[in-house]
Assembly symmetry: C2
Homo-oligomer: 296 residues x 2
């Protein structure tokens, strides 16, 4: 297994760190036979995100990469527009806060002030803002090779992760061709995506040539976030929602789900899928990975 | 299968309705072999919840039981205190809104006004309010029979549901002893719990003698909601987070996870578990149910 593990980490810019002491904890319990059971469970911490002076949300997170999470969340919610210059991201571990600072007030803060005068609340606007952000979005038409998808799923499944270590966590991986680049995990699948968005924003990484792979379901929110990030391909081992499919078709996102071993279903962007791999040559997943799926 | 199905529905007050046309849709796609594939996917709709004049949140939901969802959400978030009298719950299908009306202004609305003057936003307060609501909560010390847990898991797994029909959805079931009473499903596992809370509130159902079974993970938010509802037992086929376990131990909730066939792990309240069933006599889950776990 050791060799396989080192192989699996080749090519990653950021890989999971299942050994990091801050991310998991061993908890003592009792199993079905009445025997003591020590199991590893993931940590979960509140993180309150501020945009300048404005408290935005408290997210539950495993707590790695709080700066990326805050940046990515604000960008994916459309609260941080493309033009706006981020001049600082300050994380305070004791206060469990992260403050994203921009040059001057953001358009979102202005909008929020108006909103606040009327309904006094910002929560309800978040979803509306996300749909707004999608208007006119058309993703680049890139070819999707099934050989790449199979290679990615196999590499990602065998990559040492909190998912394999402790379960009860979602993983999302930014990929290029057959290569996984950044593998983020979190208790909420949206956090994992937002951390990737924050990393891309910080590093100025292009999106048009990337694929996003997630262990989570392909809901409208996952599809919207992927489109907001400008990534044209979203693949998952889990299933779909009707609206997720509709939005994917609207923005030109190639949407592939229920990907297990050789099996998958493409519900949007089929015309961009190049079937260059013979499914018969693809191994089925090991029971271990199938089973872990249930932890999602 | 027909006989098994009718058996499985015996005793339910509310059971899933996988045949309801409004909840799923057949979508055409292409499978891994390039063949046309028609799969059933769950619907997903926005629902904006108001408390009197106050817009609170927009939830993504399959859209059944919007009134229960709104009531349960507000109660589980501590926005609707025990004393407060609900005088109306108005759902507007076209506007996709539900308004919960109380006699006079709620303490939450007053708090929100103060909050709004300072940070201008209510989102960040939600989590803090939930923890606040837990102060002093001690759940009744009820015996938990493993024979009941095994019977519930088996009945629930075999109950016709959107989960078995279309996947990509979570289920939560309110149970009493070995009997499932109310089986709610939704795209977000929290919605399913909130719909149960709304039903209990509307029907004036007691909580101290109930068990909550969920397909989702045992995160802090799931544990908090269960405790806010006054239900002393929470069981899941999925895994744990460290904070979920901590809170369960703090409020005296019996927490059982990773429940698959004969297997489970108890991480809180073990002293209240009565092991009256021989695990060796319990059947393993069918591959069908194991696999479906991955859709969560």
């Amino acid at each position: 297994m050791q060799l396989a593990q080192s192989d699996d980490l080749s090519g990653y810019v950021i890989a999971p760190d299942p050994a990091a002491p801050r991310l998991t904890r061993v908890v003592e319990g009792v199993d079905h036979e009445g025997n003591p059971s020590r199991i590893s469970v993931v940590e979960e911490r509140p993180l309150t995100i501020f945009l300048n002076g404005q408290e935005i949300v408290t997210a539950m997170t495993i707590g790695d990469y709080p700066e990326y999470l805050a940046l990515g969340f604000l960008r994916n919610q459309g609260m941080l527009a493309t033009g706006e210059v981020v001049c600082g991201v300050d994380y305070d571990e004791d206060l469990e806060t992260v403050v994203v600072r921009t040059d001057g007030q953001t358009t979102y803060e202005e909008k929020l002030k108006k909103k606040t005068r009327t309904s006094g609340c910002a929560v309800g606007t978040v979803f509306g803002d996300m749909m707004e952000g999608l208007e006119g979005v058309r993703l680049p038409e890139v070819e999707v090779k099934t050989s790449d998808l199979y290679a990615l799923a196999s590499k990602i499944n065998r990559t040492p992760s909190l998912y394999l270590e402790a379960g009860a966590i979602h993983g999302t991986v930014l990929c290029q061709g057959a290569r996984p680049l950044v593998y983020m995990e979190d208790v909420g699948r949206h956090n994992a995506v937002d951390k990737i968005a924050g990393w891309m924003l910080s590093e100025g990484v292009s999106a048009g040539d990337k694929t996003l792979y997630t262990t989570g379901r392909l809901t409208s929110e996952m599809v919207i976030k992927t489109a907001m990030m400008g990534i044209p391909v979203l693949a998952s081992r889990s299933g779909f929602t009707a609206w997720g499919v509709e939005i994917a078709r609207q923005v030109g996102l190639t949407l592939i789900g229920r990907m297990r071993g050789k099996r998958f279903v493409c519900l949007a962007g089929e015309e961009r899928v190049l079937r260059d791999a013979d499914p018969a040559s693809v191994d089925e997943e090991s029971p271990k990975h199938r089973r872990k799926g249930g932890e999602a």
